[in-house]
């Protein structure tokens, strides 16, 4: 049995074991906890896929050449949106359990009653379906077109993608904002923050970048991305570095304004997250999402060093998971929960995501061989 098959068996058993735990959670640990976990992993899958799609669109938008040889990697990661959509459709069942705006009591709530139509189950579902549809459109044009170009070698795709990319940026902003406001901010509908969509975008883009970096290093180790070198890695590292700072800038700006204004309906969000054990998680999040990666990547050599990059990318993915956990799990009340239900969900979904990505990495060419700019990208030097 080869190492490859062993890994597959390992992943499948993790998924199977996780699935048992997931089922047990529903019947034993309570519906609220089940749905909180489900929404968490839906958001994680969705932001990962969307972040990767954003990288692809960004390349077309600015006509970047350096990233052409590694474009297939974010394209493959972006296909995670396909399994994320059914997971999200199932997550709609969480609305009456977790989301106060969809519960009948909302009609008697002075604030929620005013937003009743916006928060109601039908309109919420319509918005989510709209977001999914727009994602599929972006996926079809950018990723589907790129895959087709491998055989047709038709440069017309590059022009089409370049024209579509600006429109996709608007679509992306809409989708990420809808998902952030509805699915995450909607858990606490009395609380609102204008910048919240940008905050979630920063996390999504970072997770997409980290997954891309990890996959590039994984394929490079297996000699499958010939021509991709330190200069390409440097750009990925620089992106990671820049956006850890961006994330902290947005996160801190949101916190500081609310801290200064001290409005009860706003600070309650942080009050909950700075009480008891949540305080430790908040501090850990600042350390993992900003301080550690900032100093790990600050030097020029560190951004090219594969070992350093792999560790930081892994750290960023863990930090993104912690970030979304930190946003979603306080809805259950009390101190942070982490026990077998969370572990089973992690096994099930992480195993599933890895299986999906593994399958995606095996399919087709590792580089967009039909892209006329591939050669220029391979010759990229800093």
């Amino acid at each position: 049995m080869t190492q490859n098959n062993k890994n597959a068996t390992l992943l499948w058993s993790a998924v199977a074991l996780g699935a048992l735990g997931v089922l047990a959670t529903y019947f034993v640990a309570g519906h609220a906890r089940f749905w909180a976990n489900w929404v968490l992993w839906f958001i994680l899958m969705f932001t990962l896929g969307l972040g990767a799609l954003f990288i692809v669109a960004l390349e077309h938008l600015v006509s970047a050449r350096w990233s052409v040889p590694i474009r297939r990697i974010p394209e493959r990661i972006a296909t995670l949106l396909l399994p994320a959509i059914p997971v999200g459709l199932i997550a709609l069942c969480a609305l009456p359990v977790l989301y106060p705006g969809s519960r009948p009591e909302a009609a008697h709530h002075p604030i929620l009653a005013g937003k009743a139509f916006w928060l109601s189950l039908p309109f919420f579902s319509v918005r989510t379906l709209l977001a999914f549809g727009l994602c599929l459109l972006g996926l079809a044009v950018l990723v589907g077109g790129s895959l087709k170009q491998d055989t047709t070698k038709d440069p017309a795709f590059n022009f089409r993608a370049r024209k579509f990319a600006p429109a996709f940026m608007a679509i992306f902003a809409l989708v990420v904002t809808l998902i952030a406001f509805d699915w995450i901010s909607g858990l606490t509908p009395e609380w609102y923050s204008d910048i919240f969509g940008v905050y979630v975008f920063a996390g999504a883009f970072l997770s997409g970048l980290a997954a891309t970096t990890l996959s590039v290093l994984y394929l490079q180790e297996r000699d499958r991305l010939e021509g991709v070198r330190g200069d390409h890695l440097y750009n990925l590292g620089a992106f990671l570095f820049a956006f850890t700072v961006f994330w902290s800038y947005i996160g801190f700006a949101q916190y500081m304004l609310m801290w200064y204004a001290n409005f009860p309906d706003e600070v309650i969000y942080y009050k909950v997250r700075l009480a008891g054990s949540w305080r430790i998680i908040t501090i850990a999040l600042a350390a993992m999402h900003f301080i550690l990666p900032f100093f790990a990547l600050v030097t020029r050599a560190a951004k090219k060093d594969p070992r350093r990059l792999r560790r930081v990318a892994f750290l960023m993915l863990s930090a993104h998971i912690l970030d979304m956990y930190w946003l979603i799990f306080p809805v259950l009340g009390g101190s942070p929960r982490f026990a077998w239900p969370e572990l089973s969900f992690a096994l099930f979904f992480l195993g599933g995501i890895l299986l999906w990505l593994r399958g995606a990495m095996e399919k087709g060419e590792d580089m967009p061989t039909g892209d006329p700019f591939l050669r220029e990208g391979l010759e990229f030097r800093l």
Partner: protein, 380 residues
């Protein structure tokens, strides 16, 4: 000054020829090898074996220093030296320090990067780099690629260097003389410069003073100084008496504080309360009564206020027959002018407040002498 040569330039026609020559020239170990090209060439840093620039480290250290400086300053000012509670926040709130810390970090880091690069690493006041005065410079800035072996110590052998460059394929070789490194920032120069700046400031100050003082036509920006208005405590030619400040016209009263009851109390008896008896007027009267009257006349108007209990004064019992029969105007007159030991309230109560108090006193009197028909239910 002896004509020691500083460096030897070898000229190449293509970047590839240059790149191939670099390892050969470096292997000769005749001095430090430097390249001059019209545009950056990929991979030349590695080929020349350039050390990593120390600038990054300098910027990091200064950036951290900037953050600490900003934190220290703010902490010292807000928490130790002059602690003021602002917006209900503790004086040592780190959240409030972050924006300034961020800005000062960026300031220190960028200044270090810019100035450190120019002055420390590029040695800026040194303008005359020998390559700039070489014959080859017109080519180097256009389409030629130069490799230089530069002297590191006294024992620089320019002939050997020229040969090494020719062996490596240089088309032409040019020996450059040592640069004119006559001292630039001598103490004499610095002192003279500072003296010049000081003298210039002195002259400029004297000139400005003279011009503004003796030639007032040339005064700059007079609009703030000379305004067409009367200044307090200053003279003015506008009025006959030469004063800027004038007494108010005799009989002037402040708006809202009209002392209408100026005659005797008997004269004032005919005054009629101009205010309607509304809830708002009674509330206003109650408030004014509570502030100005209650302490002596008591909450019920029976002359048993807290001052009576404390000092044994004898304020009027407004519930007495004499005051029940008073017309409104006489009560108003007493409020405006005071009576016996009672001080005048004209300065403290506006006209509306006085009349509101009169209504309220009437209400107090009626409350203490209520009749049966007062109990009838009034529809809301």
């Amino acid at each position: 000054m002896s004509e020691t040569s500083y460096s030897v330039l070898g000229i190449f026609e293509t970047p590839n020829a240059l790149m191939h020559a670099i390892p050969k020239v470096r292997a000769a170990k005749l001095g430090s090898v430097e390249a001059y090209t019209p545009y950056p060439i990929h991979g030349i840093d590695d080929a020349l074996g350039l050390r990593r620039s120390p600038l990054g480290g300098m910027v990091l250290v200064m950036g951290i220093l900037g953050a600490l400086t900003a934190f220290g300053f703010q902490y010292w000012i807000s928490a130790i030296d002059y602690p003021i509670i602002t917006g209900g926040k503790p004086p040592d709130s780190w959240e409030a320090f972050i924006p300034i810390m961020f800005e000062v970090t960026v300031l220190f880091a960028t200044f270090t990067a810019g100035l450190g690069m120019l002055f420390l690493l590029n040695k800026l006041p040194f303008f005359g780099h020998p390559v700039l005065s070489s014959k080859a410079i017109t080519g180097i800035t256009r389409d030629r690629y130069a490799l230089a072996i530069e002297a590191e110590d006294e024992g620089f052998d320019s002939a050997a260097a020229a040969k090494a460059l020719q062996d490596a394929g240089a088309l032409e070789v040019e020996v450059l003389p040592a640069p004119d490194r006559s001292p630039f920032l001598t103490s004499d120069y610095i002192l003279r410069t500072l003296g010049g700046i000081f003298a210039a400031c002195l002259v400029a100050g004297v000139v400005m003073y003279t011009v503004t003082k003796w030639f007032p036509l040339l005064r700059p920006m007079v609009n703030m100084q000379d305004q067409p208005r009367l200044n307090a405590q200053k003279g003015s030619t506008f009025f006959k008496d030469g004063h800027g400040m004038q007494r108010p016209v005799a009989g002037t009263v402040a708006r809202g504080y009209l002392p209408t009851a100026t005659g005797t109390q008997e004269v004032a008896a005919t005054l009629v309360n101009p205010l309607p008896r509304t809830k708002e007027v009674f509330a206003q009267g109650k408030q004014a009564y509570g502030n100005r009257c209650e302490v002596c006349h008591g909450a019920l108007g029976n002359g048993l206020g807290s001052l009576t209990a404390a000092y044994g004064g004898k304020p009027a019992n407004l519930q007495a027959k004499q005051f029940l029969d008073y017309p409104d105007g006489k009560i108003y007159w007493a409020i405006v002018n005071g009576k016996n030991a009672m001080p005048a309230q004209a300065a403290d109560l506006t006209e509306a407040q006085r009349w509101a108090v009169v209504h309220y006193v009437r209400a107090l009197q009626r409350a203490q002498n209520a009749k049966d028909e007062d109990l009838k239910v009034v529809a809301p």
